[in-house]
């Protein structure tokens, strides 16, 4: 008389006459059906000494064998699979079960890493950040020292790398910088114009845009574009070179990675950024001029005349002086993050993102510092 304690299932039959329980396995037990098999086995309870009959079992793979053995382990009345009588299994199936039984003894499921509290995370991030700043300062010192070395021994300068970087960071950036600063010029003029129109002070928009663009907007916007463009490129290039051990190869050949990789990029950016800021100045004033006519009735001739009066060269110079400082920050951050990236693919991506964020924050902080400085010096 069959008294099954689990629902009828295509995978096995349970026969529980007292003292001689039999679990008959049926069909093909494979990974593809494992979820159903596992569900069917849940709650199965077999007495010790029960027989497991595999004669109707066509195939069992090791994953299914694992699930079976685990279910039997869970079966409350027996603590050890040896307590059961295994019968009727084909040679292959018996071998699979044996192999899994051996591994089960040594196989322990992986332990999940402990979860950290939010406060501990904040602490950890702060420590990481201070380590980062420390490292950047260190690297800046090394770079400046290397530049000093160049002054003493100018022949060490790698002109080929320098010109390649000048082309990539400077020349190739001109189109995007021109476009963005042109549009910035248009936008600022429009904003200032809206207010100036009320008081009939249309012509003074030229003052506002001229001083604002050359002192602040052009340098900062251009620096941010360059941070995203070249800063990220430096980190990605140098980071990938670290992955492929190219930097190690450079060192092993007796060359200085600083001289070959870092200095050309730093110097190129410090030369290129002022030039790009100048391009930005011109293009933003051009954009201003384009919209001043239709919106405010300021003809190009009137615009240029007012500009000559209102825009003192000192404003342009202030903007141009900021540029190499921004460039140094962006280049040092970019190259250092690249040179210190961890040796796996995920780390390069993370480092590149971090470079862009750090560079932009650094540029804004330096700009604020300049504002205070210029205020104090009354320039």
């Amino acid at each position: 008389m069959e008294m099954s304690e689990t629902a009828a299932s295509p995978w096995f039959s349970v026969d529980l006459p007292p003292g001689r329980a039999v679990l008959g396995l049926m069909g093909a037990w494979r990974v593809a059906q494992l979820a159903e098999i596992e569900a069917a086995l849940t709650g199965l309870v077999l007495p010790a000494g029960a027989t497991i009959d595999g004669s109707a079992l066509s195939q069992i793979d090791s994953a299914a064998a694992l699930v079976l053995l685990r279910a039997l382990q869970h079966s409350a009345m027996a603590t050890d699979a040896e307590e059961f009588v295994w019968t009727g299994f084909s040679e292959i199936n018996a071998r699979v079960l044996d192999q899994v039984r051996r591994h089960l003894a040594s196989a322990t499921p992986p332990v999940a890493p402990p979860r950290r509290s939010a406060l501990a995370d904040v602490g950890r991030q702060t420590a990481v950040l201070s380590g980062l700043l420390h490292g950047h300062l260190n690297f800046l010192g090394a770079t400046v020292a290397a530049c000093g070395g160049l002054l003493v021994r100018p022949r060490q300068l790698r002109t080929r790398e320098l010109t390649v970087q000048l082309q990539q960071t400077g020349l190739n950036a001109i189109p995007v910088v021109s476009l963005v600063t042109l549009l910035i010029g248009v936008v600022i003029t429009y904003l200032l114009g809206l207010q100036a129109e009320r008081y009939g002070a249309n012509i003074f928009v030229v003052d506002g845009v001229g001083i604002g663009a050359t002192r602040e907007f052009a340098p900062v916007i251009v620096a941010i574009i360059v941070a995203g463009r070249s800063g990220a490129a430096f980190t990605a290039q140098l980071g990938s070179m670290r992955l492929t051990e190219e930097i190690d190869a450079i060192r092993t050949l007796g060359l200085s990675a600083m001289q070959v990789l870092v200095l050309p990029r730093v110097l190129a950016l410090m030369l290129a950024l002022p030039l790009l800021v100048f391009v930005g100045d011109v293009m933003s004033l051009l954009g201003a001029m384009l919209i001043a006519g239709p919106m405010l009735g300021v003809t190009p001739a009137a615009f240029l005349a007012r500009l000559r009066e209102a825009l003192d060269i000192s404003h342009v110079l202030v903007g141009l002086v900021k540029a190499p400082v921004f460039a140094l920050a962006i280049a040092v951050i970019g190259t250092r993050m690249g040179m210190t990236v961890g040796r796996d693919t995920g780390a390069v991506g993370a480092a590149t993102t971090s470079t862009v964020v750090q560079s932009i924050v650094a540029v804004i902080l330096l700009d604020a510092g300049f504002a205070v400085l210029m205020q104090a010096l009354e320039w």
């Binding site: 093909a28 494979r30 990974v31 593809a32 494992l34 979820a35 596992e38 066509s58 195939q59 793979d61 090791s62 994953a63 694992l66 699930v67 685990r70 292959i92 071998r95 699979v96 192999q99 899994v100 591994h103 089960l104 040594s106 196989a107 322990t108 499921p109 992986p110 332990v111 890493p113 961890g342 040796r343 796996d344 693919t345 995920g346």
Partner: protein, 262 residues
């Protein structure tokens, strides 16, 4: 029930593969088949396109012409759903493991299980532990990242991931390259046990003479764009071709030189 017909049909059937890159012809009519439950070695000098052929067989690179049939499915003619279904039935071990670098070893092995099955997390964990044990990895390796493992352990982790879904077919790309002799022989034993204990059919591209001479059932020799020889190890070793003779005689050559030197 595995029918007698299905058991006799070849697991891998490659017919008239032609591969051209621009003006260079790498394969010019490569044909062979692999029977169930065998361990086959694919050999050929560097540049004969072993890796390219493997990539064509697993659906990563379309051959210029020819047909690849895996487990009854024509890889290059199948619909996406069919191809997906067959991908769950074979595994691939790439040359340097190709483990996901942002995941731990255990998470790597769990990827196919989580994506293609609906098993409970506890069962997935237990199955991962089983695969790691089957691949010969110590339990401590489970929580490590791939970058923290040695080359040999990375390859074992890659095998563990490749057999996660208990495939019927396994491809290995130069599994013992870069391994010291002891680790390499251990790896050979692992692969042999996969064939013997789990009934997996294995096709491996290899340079390793010791692997060929110890654990492989059949050898396929790829040379000059075609299959030069295809048969048991001793059969292939007896083939009358200069390249094959030199390939297998390297071992005796170096021993002979040592004898002369001493």
């Amino acid at each position: 029930m595995v029918s007698a017909v299905a058991a006799a049909a070849p697991v891998v059937d490659v017919r008239d593969i032609v591969t051209r890159f621009g003006a260079t012809t790498v394969h010019d009519g490569v044909s062979f088949s692999v029977g169930r439950g065998t361990l086959v070695g694919l050999i050929g000098t560097s540049g004969t396109g072993k890796s390219v052929l493997l990539r064509e067989m697993i659906g990563l690179h379309r051959p210029t012409a020819g047909r690849v049939t895996l487990l009854g499915t024509d890889i290059w003619q199948a619909q996406a759903a069919e191809l997906d279904a067959v991908r769950r039935r074979f595994g691939m071990m790439f040359q340097d493991g190709a483990l996901f670098s942002s995941l731990t070893v255990a998470q790597n092995v769990a990827v196919p299980l989580r994506e293609h099955t609906r098993l409970a997390p506890a069962t997935v964990d237990a199955l991962v532990a089983l695969r790691l044990a089957q691949a010969g990895l110590p339990a401590e390796a489970a929580a490590r990242r791939p970058s923290e493992l040695s080359g040999g352990m990375r390859k074992r982790a890659a095998v563990a991931r490749a057999i996660a879904l208990e495939p019927e077919l396994l491809f290995l790309d130069e599994p013992t390259s870069g391994l010291d002799p002891i680790t390499a022989r251990g790896f050979d034993r692992l692969v042999r046990s996969l064939v013997d204990d789990l009934g997996i059919t294995v096709l491996m591209a290899t340079h390793d003479l010791d692997t060929l001479l110890t654990v492989v059932d059949r050898v396929i020799v790829l040379a000059r764009g075609r299959v030069l020889a295809d048969g048991g190890v001793s059969e292939v070793m007896a083939v009358d071709d200069e390249w094959v003779q030199r390939y297998f005689s390297v071992r005796t050559m170096t021993q002979g030189d040592a004898g002369h030197g001493s």
